[in-house]
Symmetry: C2
Subunit: 271 residues, 2 copies
């Protein structure tokens, strides 16, 4: 199944893709749908076909957005660190998220960098979950770009202030359920800037896969349906280039996972 939040002339609604068209689900958006319905029941709830429907930010109100850093071997290498024994975790907010085609607005002068990522959408309440329980609790997968403000990220020991800028993490365009996508078998995670491929990793090289991350996080904080976990970025970020290269006004960032879709976000630097 492919799930989304879509806008159409009739308004915004949670939706499911059926036979080449979007059909309404009984909730104002996918966050609200996942909080009130099991993912597995979505197909049976498909309503009217929506004309001219366009996917927007699929999950506008997750309670938690947990991110994993340093989770691909090649990216760990480009940051000069060792293979980790534990996942490196930090938090973003629902406010940090951005639609799949929206502009990334930032003040001029910041060092904004790209980080293409697979995002896991939680489908069940997970508290102290084993890896198997966590795997069964995966609601689906989507695409994210953990756009990072490197100069703020490096101001202190904690990355949070470089990672939680409002409306800078594009997410979407759709959520694909695990029966249609298997990141453990391997899916590519790709980032292009102005059409030039800068990142291409594969999720089969993740140090901590989706189920391992959900299980680990659920040890200390409960995860609920609609929460999002970003699994980390492969090598090829701008700060790893020689010289380090950051996003400029007008740059177009495309973030793609074949089998899910592509985010296309233009950078607007303002002042």
């Amino acid at each position: 199944m492919r799930l989304a939040t879509v806008t159409s002339p009739g308004g915004t609604t949670a939706a499911i893709r059926r036979d080449g068209a979007w059909r309404a689900l009984p909730a104002p958006d996918l966050s609200a749908f996942l909080r009130s319905h099991p993912v597995a029941g979505a197909a049976g709830l498909a309503g009217a076909e929506l004309v001219d429907a366009v996917p927007v930010l699929p999950l506008p109100t997750p309670g938690k957005v947990v991110c994993c850093g340093l989770n691909y071997g090649d990216h760990i290498e480009e940051t000069g660190r060792e293979q980790p024994a534990y996942p490196t975790l930090f938090a973003k907010y629902a406010d940090t998220l951005l639609g799949p085609d929206a502009a990334i607005e930032l003040p001029a002068g910041v060092d904004a960098d790209w980080e293409a990522e697979l995002a896991v959408v939680v489908g069940a309440t997970l508290r102290g979950a084993t890896v198997e329980q966590a795997r069964a609790g995966i609601g689906g997968y989507t695409v994210a770009n953990d756009v990072s403000i490197r100069d703020w990220q490096r101001r202190t020991l904690q990355w949070f202030q470089g990672k939680a800028w409002d409306a800078t993490t594009p997410l979407g365009p759709v959520v694909v359920t695990p029966d249609e996508l298997d990141p453990e078998a391997g899916v590519d995670v790709i980032c292009r800037v102005n059409g030039v491929e800068r990142q291409r990793g594969n999720t089969k090289t993740l140090v901590f896969d989706s189920a391992a991350l959900l299980s680990y996080v659920s040890t200390f904080t409960v995860l609920r349906p609609g929460d999002v976990v970003l699994t980390g970025t492969p090598g090829g970020v701008g700060m790893g280039m020689t010289p380090p290269t950051y996003l400029a006004d007008g740059d177009v960032v495309e973030t793609e996972i074949p089998g899910i879709g592509t985010l296309t976000n233009t950078v607007h630097l303002t002042r």
Copy 2:
């Protein structure tokens, strides 16, 4: 004014202290009240006197709980670091918070440490706020203990996984508005473990005061009424002792700010 969320035989409600008694405010808790009413109007909304009312977690559903580390000179010294140019920030969740008299439940074997802190409660929507705007947007102050799981905090570069354990950060017992408390002039922040004073700092020695923190955070993410910012802990934490000393089963942690009140939390280590 002193505001709280209280339970009484009639249920749970937002409340205001008037003439030695708690009176109901028109919201199910103080988070809900602050989202729908300006703090300044609370006195005019005081309803019926509540009999046998007991303060519980004042803010059960803040959208954001932002924490500042390394903000008192003596605590910075005990961690062996230099005075910071920027505040070190990390996030907790609403789920991380705990009532003022509730037990801190943790698995046996973790290195749980105390961190008494002044917490600022946001009273207005702050986005790109100057320090003056941020000061005017302070809704009040309360007491927190940023109980930290040191072994998890040190597992990776990012502290988050040692700081965001569900139901481990006691908060309360009441929120005192700025007309009654001036942390810039200085209030003591005290922690006792089993009656022995372990921390006593004064907020006039904060590197970044409440208004500076709210202004800084609002540069990158919007703060809304009821959000909470923890201002950091003074020296005297358990990991700074020789040898390092952590909380044991049955320990009683008292966290006090004169003029606000005292949190009293017993540690329960389970398996």
